[in-house]
């Protein structure tokens, strides 16, 4: 009797098809994830002249990334773990990493859709035009930023088992990031908070994306933000994966 195990590519293909179908079925929540950054870009039209188009686009993209990483990925992982979906998948001849790779691929796709939507709305509504190089580098920065918030989501779902607690935690973190991030960065909450926000996951992603939109403005501080973002990813993902329980 011969035993053959399925090829990894066939398994990933089956998982991707299912995960993208689920994304499509949940297009209402997808629209909500897109709505917040687009509303920000439209409502901040008045800031384009004062703070620059890159500030407005970076703000919208950063908040979109937080939505995807915290509200989308984290809650779906917590829910599926609680319902035993992962357990059912794992009793098949499937490596654990393929399950996560498929989930992350879907989120990366969402990051790309959201970033593209912000660029289009920014151009059409706010008349924000960026150089081709700026679009490419900021696209890459958005993916890096997406990785940061996905790893933060992984940290939350790794540390907290209860899906309800995960849900409320992600909403709290989302709210804190948006409120403290936006107001703190503008200096409304004082210098100390401004400095903290600048080096927080919100601040480093915002800095990276804003500078990537105008790559010629890349400074040593941007490089430091890049290093900080990579550091956050390593720490969050490392702890999140180590602490993660499949069931």
């Amino acid at each position: 009797m011969q035993t053959r195990i399925p090829q990894t590519s066939a398994v990933i293909s089956a998982l991707l098809r299912a995960d993208f179908t689920i994304l499509w079925r949940n297009r209402r929540s997808l629209r909500l994830v897109l709505l917040v950054p687009l509303v920000i870009v439209i409502s901040w039209k008045g800031l384009v002249d004062k703070l620059g188009g890159e500030y407005v686009l970076a703000g919208g993209i950063t908040i979109g990334l937080i939505s995807i990483g915290l509200l989308g990925y984290t809650n779906s992982i917590a829910r599926d773990r609680d319902k035993g979906v992962f357990q059912r998948l794992r009793v098949g001849p499937v490596s654990a990493w393929t399950i996560m790779a498929s989930r992350i691929a879907v989120q990366v796709c969402m990051v790309m859709i959201m970033t593209l939507s912000v660029f289009i709305v920014g151009y059409c509504v706010d008349k924000i035009a960026v150089s081709p190089l700026g679009y490419v580098t900021s696209f890459l920065a958005a993916i890096l930023g997406g990785a940061l918030y996905l790893s933060l989501g992984q940290l939350i779902v790794g540390m907290i088992k209860n899906p309800e607690t995960v849900n409320s935690t992600t909403r709290l973190v989302y709210f804190v990031f948006i409120m403290v991030g936006m107001f703190g960065e503008l200096g409304v909450l004082g210098k100390v908070v401004e400095d903290i926000v600048h080096w927080s996951p919100y601040g480093v992603v915002n800095t990276l994306i804003a500078t990537s939109l105008k790559p010629e403005k890349w400074t040593q501080q941007t490089s430091m933000a890049l290093l900080a973002a990579l550091g956050y990813i390593v720490v969050f993902a490392g702890i999140g994966i180590k602490k993660f329980k499949w069931n």
Binding site: M1, Q2, T3, P6, Q7, S13, V85, P93, V94, S95
Partner: protein
């Protein structure tokens, strides 16, 4: 769509040897050993918390045992988990599939995962087999308990595994659905596959299983055919004391061996 390095096996379908499973300081399974051969339906019985689910989870590769060996079709669950899993089909106690997918999509997903991708026509044929062709567009959660169990069983046997693990497959089913599931389990057996099932229904164990193992406090306390177990223990005072109508049943033997106390 398969790897090019097949491995040949020629050993018993399931062998569990000196299995120990611990959760912290609590020992859930203490040295359980048994084997299941092809064409055999083997029942694992025990009160709540006896160690059945831990044993099953270790076989499924969901938890890592403290010590012991588990082989499926000759492949160690610990050393060659993917090969072992490729030889087993599993129906979990509380089956949960992705809520957003239709049953057709779920079957296609798992057929891909097990390396036996099915076309839509083949999926429809599978659904026809279990009288669910009219429900192909329904989500798993929209099906009745019996229909859900039929879909789960189809998925657990989609790759024609040598070993099928069924964790309390008939819990919550009406008598008709239960009988239908028993017939399907017999069909699996008739194909020469081995079946390991856990159940709390002594009627089911007697009706379906060729051999039974009774587990309590993490240890295997009896193993034999249902008839032999009844014959061996019919004169035990503990068994006689729990007998209700004079005739000794498997349930009397079970309660006689594991005690009357209700487990949490």
């Amino acid at each position: 769509m398969m790897n090019n390095s097949p491995i040949t096996s020629s050993v018993p379908i399931l062998e569990v040897s000196q299995l120990h499973v611990s959760y912290g300081t609590f020992q859930a399974v203490k040295g359980i050993s048994f084997s299941v051969s092809s064409g055999e339906i083997f029942g694992l019985l025990g009160p709540n918390g006896a160690g059945k689910t831990s044993t099953l989870s270790a076989i499924e590769g969901l938890i890592k045992p403290q010590s012991g060996q588990i082989t499926v079709a000759g492949f160690s669950v610990l050393e060659k988990p993917l090969y072992a899993k490729a030889n087993m089909g599993v129906q979990l106690q509380s089956t949960s599939f992705q809520a957003e997918l239709t049953i057709t999509e779920i079957i296609r997903l798992y057929s891909g995962i097990y390396g036996h991708p099915l076309t839509t026509a083949e999926v429809n044929a599978k659904l026809e087999e279990i009288n669910l062709a009219d429900h192909s567009k329904k989500k798993f959660g929209e099906l009745s308990g019996g229909q859900q169990q039929r879909v789960s069983l189809v998925i657990s046997t989609i790759h024609d595994p040598q070993l099928v693990l069924l964790d309390e497959p008939t819990t919550g089913l009406d008598p008709q659905s239960r009988r239908q599931l028993w017939d399907r389990i017999d069909t699996i057996k008739a194909k020469g596959h081995a079946v390991l099932l856990t159940t709390h229904s002594m009627e089911e164990a007697e009706a379906v299983c060729d051999r039974i193992a009774i587990v309590d406090h993490g240890q295997l306390i009896a193993i034999d055919t249902p008839e032999a177990l009844i014959a061996q223990h019919r004169n035990d005072p503990d068994v006689i004391s729990v007998s209700r109508r004079g005739k000794i049943t498997l349930e009397d033997v079970f309660i006689g061996l594991t005690g009357r106390a209700v487990r949490s």
